[in-house]
C-alpha cells in the first residue's frame, strides 16, 4: 500500500465526480482527499485525488478513469517532481496567557490569523501535508476546537505538465 496522487482533467458536468469516486468505491479504496476546481481550459475542471492502494490496483483504476467519456486525461504523478499544497483552517482555544505563544507559532509557520474571538483564534495555513500536520501537532496542546482541510492539490514542476497545457476547444479544431 502506497500513497498515490492522481491528477485528472475532466468535463465540468454533473455526475463526473460521482463516476470517478465510484471506481474507487467499487474496489474498496478510501479516498484520502479529492479536490476539484476550474482549470485553465473553459468547461474543464482539474481534480487531484489522493488514495492509498497497491500500485497495480491504482494503475487499473487509473485506466478505468481514463475510459470515462467525461475524463479527458488522468495521470498518476506520484513518482514525478511535484508541488503539492493544501489549505487548512484551524480554530484554537485561547486564553490571555496562551495567545502570544500561538501568534509566535503562527508566524514561524508563515500562517495567518484570520479571525479572533473572545476565547479562540482561527488560523489559515497553506503548505504541503507535512507542514499542516506539524502545525497541528504544535497547536494541539492549546486545545483545538475545529479543523477543516481542503485536501491536496498538486502539479508537476517545470515547464511541461503531464496534462495538456493548452487544449484547443473542439470548435477551434474544426476551423
Amino acid at each position: 500500500m502506497t500513497k498515490h496522487t492522481l491528477v485528472a482533467l475532466v468535463e465540468d458536468k454533473p455526475g463526473v465526480l460521482n463516476q470517478m469516486a465510484s471506481l474507487f468505491r467499487r474496489r474498496g479504496f478510501n479516498i484520502e482527499s479529492i479536490a476539484v476546481g476550474h482549470s485553465e481550459v473553459p468547461h474543464l475542471s482539474r481534480t487531484t485525488i489522493v488514495v492509498n492502494g497497491a500500485t497495480t490496483t491504482v494503475e487499473q483504476v487509473r485506466k478505468q478513469l481514463d475510459k470515462l467519456v467525461d475524463v479527458v486525461k488522468v495521470s498518476d504523478i506520484t513518482d514525478e517532481e511535484i508541488i503539492s499544497r493544501e489549505l487548512a483552517l484551524i480554530k484554537v482555544k485561547t486564553t490571555a496567557a496562551s495567545r502570544s505563544e500561538i501568534i509566535e507559532i503562527v508566524d514561524i509557520f508563515r500562517a495567518n490569523i484570520v479571525d479572533v474571538g473572545a476565547n479562540s483564534v482561527t488560523i489559515e495555513v497553506t503548505g504541503d501535508e507535512d507542514k499542516v500536520n506539524s502545525l497541528l501537532k504544535l497547536l494541539r496542546g492549546f486545545g483545538i476546537k475545529e479543523i477543516t482541510r481542503t485536501g491536496c492539490i498538486a502539479m508537476t514542476r517545470g515547464g511541461t505538465g503531464p496534462l495538456p497545457k493548452e487544449k484547443k476547444s473542439p470548435e477551434a479544431k474544426e476551423k
Binding site: E11, Q60, K63, K73
Partner: protein
Amino acid sequence: MKLTGAQMVCESLVKEGVEVIFGILGGALLPLYDTLPHYPKLRHILVRHEQGAAHAAEGYARATGKVGVCLATSGPGASNLVTGIANAHLDSSPMVAITGQVARPFIGKDAFQEIDITGITQPITKHNYLVLDVASIPKTFKEAFHLARTGRPGPVLIDLPRDVQIDQAEFHYPSKVNLPSYKPTLEGHPAQIKKAAKLINESQRPIIIAGRGVIISTAYAELKELVEEAQIPVVTTLLGISCFPESHALSYGMIGMHGMAYANFAVDAADLIIAIGMRFDDRATAKVSAFAPHARVIHIDIDPAEIGKNVRVDVPIVGDAKAVLQKLNKQVATGQHLDWVQQLDDWRREHPSLVIRDTDQLLPQYVIRQIYEATKGEAIIVTGVGQNQMWAAQHYWYDKPNSFISSGGLGTMGFELPAAFGAKIGCPDRTVWCIAGDGGLQMTIQELATIVQEKAAVKIAIMDNGYLGMVRQWQELFYGKRYVATPVTGPDFVKIAEAYGLPGLLVKRKEDVIPAIKKAMAEAGPFLIDFKIEPEENVYPMVPPGAALSEVIEEPRKKAKAATDSAKLSVSNI
C-alpha cells in the same frame, strides 16, 4: 421547423439507421409512444417484461452487428432493464437503452415512478445521459450511438424526462461527434506489432486464444490467415466460439473451466500465448497464478484497461483486432510447428472431450449433436446459462462466423429466450435455436407471448433435468451431494407452449429426438421441445474452481472412478 422532443428522438433513431425497437411503454413515455406511429421505419416490438427488451436488443445486436435499441418507461420499467444492460456491458454488445423519466420539476422528489436510472446504471454503461434540454437531443443521440458501436462496444443509456419529450426546438442532426476525450486506439503501435511478430517467428509452441473481439471486429479472414501462414493452433474463449471454424485442423476448441482437456493442456504447455480480443476472464484462465506458466504473452485488445488486468503481458497491443492482425500478418513468417501440432493431436486422441456415452439414456450432449446434424451447423445457437450453455458450446460445431450467442460475463439465466427472439428478428433468414435450461427458461418465459405475437420462428430446445443443473453439479462434486434448493419443479412446458399459442413436443426417449427436431424444423413458426434429459448428467471436462487449467477432470468412464475423482477435489478451493 421546430420539432417536439419525441419527434426529435424518432428522427434521430431513423438517422442512425435503427429498424427495430424492443420496449414497453408507460406514463413517462406517452409523448414518445404517441409519436412512434408517424415513423413507420421504426418497428416497435412490444415485449412482456423490460428485461426481455434489453436481452432481445442484445440478441439482435449480436446477430446483426448493429446497435440494439430498447425502450422502457421510468421507475420499474427502467430498473427492469438493468440486468440486460449489465449483460451487454460485460459482453461488449452495442446497445442504446432509452428510458422515460418523470418531468423535470419532479426529478429528485421521489415522484411516482421516479428512479435515478443514470445513477443506477453508471457502473454498467459505457456512458449515460440525462437529457434536460430538448435542443440537446440530436447531439445526445449522435454521441450515444457512436459510443455504443465504436471502440469496445457497450450499452449507452439515455434518460428522457416526460416534459423534454413535449418541448420543442429546431432539429439539426450533427454530421459528426465531438468527443475530444473519446478516441479509441484502432491501429496498434507499429513497434509493438514488430515485437509481437518477432516473438511469433521465434516461438516453438505458440497458441492463439481468440475471443469475442475477433467477432466484433469481423477479423475472421485475418485470423485464419495468421493461423494458416504460421501454422499456429487456435483455441477460443466461450464468447470466442464461432470466430474460427471448429472443424479446421488447427482448431482445438474452447479453453477454460469446461473447455476441451487438450485445449487446456495446450495453453498450459505453450511457450507463447497470442491473445486476441479476449480479457483473461477467470472462467477461461482458471487459477491465474498457474496460467500458462511457460509462456510469454502477446495481448491484442482494443481496451487499454484490459491489458495487464488479470495476466502479466509481455507485448501489449492496443487496437482493433482486424487492423492489428492485418499489420501483424505482413510480418509473420511462414512457419511450421510440426512437433507441437503433433503433440496437440496426440492429446486430442488420448483425452477426447466430445465423446458421447453409448447408452439408451436421453443425454443432452446427444440432443445438441442431433440439432447440429439437423441444421448442418448453419443455425444461430442462443443459449441460457449453466449446463445447457456448456453442452451447447461443446457439442455443436461452429463453423459459421458469429453463430453462437451466449451470456458470458454476467452469466444471466433467462437470457436465452428473449436473446434468441432478438437474433431471429435481426436475421429472419437464419435458423435460430434457443438452447434453454428448465430453470433459466422460467425466468423469462413470458417472452413466448412476444415470439408468437411477432410470428418469430425461434426453435426452443429445453434441456429439462428438473434441476438448476450446474449448481446441482457443484453440490454433487463439492458439497457432498446436498442438493439444497436446486431441484426445480417445472410446469408442463408443452401445455405452456400451447397456452401461448405455439406447438410443442415432449421427448423422453432417445429414439424420439431426431423426429422431434425434424418436426420443429419443418414447422414454419416457432416450436418448443421439452427434452427430459438424464437428470444428474454432468458437464465434463471440468477444471475445479481454484485449480489450474492443467488439472482438468475428464468424464469418469466408470461409476467407481467417478467417486474417486470427486473425492480428490478439495472443498477449500471454492
